[in-house]
């Protein structure tokens, strides 16, 4: 892989990173903050990582920062068993409905489980890659993944969404 400059990388890959960050945080502002934080952590070591896999490196920082972040502004987001109900959008707003339902379904997951699910299914990382990115064992990835999927499979938000989309997917 050819070496890539930091500015060039941010211009090319930050939109994709923002999408991952949105799935992790469920909020556009927090997603931007998370990506900027991950980039700021990557910048001092850019000369080293630019020759290898800079995106993988930044993505690992992103997920790890999200999973372990304890700062005040992040503590406001606590997983709850029953997230506040939102008004169901009409069919005309199906796209927004999809994002909102997924956001609500993910909101009930603890931070670690959420990071595992997003890395495995959105970023298509393997169990070993996910474990390396989050700094946990493969066994932990498996157990977190199993628990997260069990919660998501029974999530009323996703079941309703699946039904409204015709149950075809």
């Amino acid at each position: 892989m050819p070496a890539i400059g930091f500015e060039e990388f941010v211009a090319a890959r930050s939109p994709a990173l923002l999408r991952t960050a949105w799935l992790l945080t469920g909020d556009d502002g927090l997603a931007q903050d998370l990506v900027q934080t991950a980039l700021a952590k990557a910048w001092p070591r850019w000369d080293t990582v630019r020759h290898d896999d800079p995106e993988g490196y930044v993505r690992a920082i992103l997920a790890n920062t999200y999973a372990t972040w304890w700062r005040r502004r992040w503590r406001g987001e606590a997983p709850t068993a029953t997230p506040p109900e939102q008004q169901v959008e009409p069919d005309a707003y199906a796209a927004a409905d999809l994002r909102e339902s997924v956001r609500l379904a993910l909101a009930v997951l603890p931070r670690g489980q959420r990071a595992v699910v997003v890395l495995r299914h959105f970023d298509d990382l393997t169990e070993a890659q996910t474990a390396a990115a989050l700094g946990i064992s493969v066994g932990t990835v498996k157990s977190q993944h199993a628990r997260a999927m069990a919660a998501l499979r029974t999530s009323p938000h996703l079941e309703g969404l699946h039904a409204s989309r015709g149950g075809s997917r």
């Binding site: 930050s14 939109p15 980039l39 952590k41 796209a95 499979r153």
Partner: protein
């Protein structure tokens, strides 16, 4: 119930839905990384200074102990003299280094972080030099009539007063120089001469109160006489007048509120620094010896001093985005350097810290207090600019 694959599909669709977000600005991440690196370097530097102090502390302390008459000394007299004045050399060295850095910093933009940091350092130094002798000088004002009586009968009293006045003048001049440098780096800061006068008067008023408040523990000779109370009243009134003079003579409720607030903040912080240090050194002993009443009295004094300082900060500072954080920073930026100065004075007189401070070197505490104060004042200076006319309280 839906399947794992269906969950994964929904997740992928939701994440990829809509137009691609706009790319982020890399400058933000770079700036954040640089700030973080600067912070790390600062902490590493602070740790290095503390380590250095710890490394040289033991030999210096033994020399100092012998210099101060611990008995059979085998160290040459010149070494005693140098060792005993070590805190003064350290303070002068910091002043010289800051003085050399100032012309360089003046070439930087006004809002540049390093320039702000140096301006904050000068602001803190202006208070440290006042903290060294502040309490000593205020003690003369508690019972000035007794002092006058002593002057008539004891030639030694005249010598002590002369030396004290001379050293007080040196403190004032150093404070003036520090404020001069701060004003050069930060034009919105206090005018140097009037500012130094204002601050020294407020500091002395605060120390006067602390001496009187601590009088039951220090002995009856610090119970204020009528002349002492009059001296305190004059101190406060002149401080308020000089503060108004600092505001270029503008009168009005807003100016008076700010002048009163800054005077209260500085005086309260001086009192807080004296009472706080006393509490740190005396409380553990008072608690172990079962003197609960004294301990409670000290805690109450600390609480009152803190409340007065905060009240001064409330009056002095316009409400910002996080007003209480700003007010606490103001109290920290004022009280910490004064406490550092007092500890330097203790170090100079060879009195070891006791109580909660006995486990650490007073020089380490001084460095930590100064670092905390510079950080606090730097953070205050970097707050958004105030409205016109609010600039004289810096």
């Amino acid at each position: 119930m839906i399947t794992d694959d269906q969950v994964a599909d929904l997740l992928r669709d939701a994440g990829n839905d809509g137009p691609l977000p706009r790319p982020l600005d890399p400058a933000v991440a770079v700036s954040r990384a640089r700030r973080s690196r600067t912070r790390t370097q600062g902490l590493v530097g602070l740790a290095a200074v503390l380590g250095l102090i710890a490394a040289v502390e033991a030999p210096t302390r033994s020399v100092l102990d012998q210099a101060l008459g611990a008995g059979s000394s085998t160290v040459p007299a010149e070494q005693h003299w140098w060792a005993a004045l070590m805190p003064v050399w350290a303070l002068l060295l910091v002043l010289v280094v800051a003085g050399l850095a100032t012309p360089v910093a003046l070439r930087l933009p006004e809002a540049e972080r390093r320039r702000t940091l140096l301006a904050a350092t000068w602001g803190v130094l202006s208070l440290v030099v006042l903290g060294v002798l502040g309490s000593w000088l205020a003690a003369f004002l508690v019972t000035p009539d007794t002092l006058v009586d002593n002057l008539r009968v004891t030639p030694r009293a005249a010598a002590i007063l002369g030396w004290s006045a001379g050293l007080g003048l040196v403190s004032f001049v150093l404070c003036w120089i520090a404020l001069l440098a701060r004003r050069a780096l930060r034009p919105a800061a206090l005018p140097p001469f009037r500012g130094a006068l204002w601050v020294i008067l407020a500091v002395e008023a605060g120390y006067w109160v602390s001496i009187v408040a601590l009088a039951p523990g220090l002995g009856s000779r610090f119970t204020p006489s009528l002349a002492g109370v009059a001296a305190f009243g004059v101190l406060v009134l002149v401080a308020l007048a000089v503060g108004t003079w600092c505001s270029r003579g503008r009168f009005g409720p807003r100016t008076l509120r700010r002048v009163g607030g800054v005077t209260l903040l500085v005086a309260g912080s001086a009192c807080l620094s004296a009472v706080g240090l006393e509490a740190l050194q005396v409380l553990p002993r008072a608690l172990t010896e079962g003197r609960a009443a004294g301990a409670v009295a000290l805690v109450v004094l600390v609480a009152i001093s803190l409340t007065v300082s905060l009240a001064g900060a409330v009056l002095a500072l316009p409400p910002g985005a996080r007003p209480w954080a700003g007010r606490l920073l103001a109290v920290l930026a004022t009280a910490a350097p004064l406490a550092a100065g007092s500890l330097l004075f203790q170090s100079l007189t060879g009195s070891r810290p006791v109580g909660a401070l006995s486990a650490v070197s007073e020089r380490m505490v001084v460095v930590l207090l100064v670092a905390a104060a510079v950080s606090a004042l730097g953070a205050l200076d970097r707050r958004p600019a105030r409205a016109t006319g609010d600039d004289a309280a810096d």
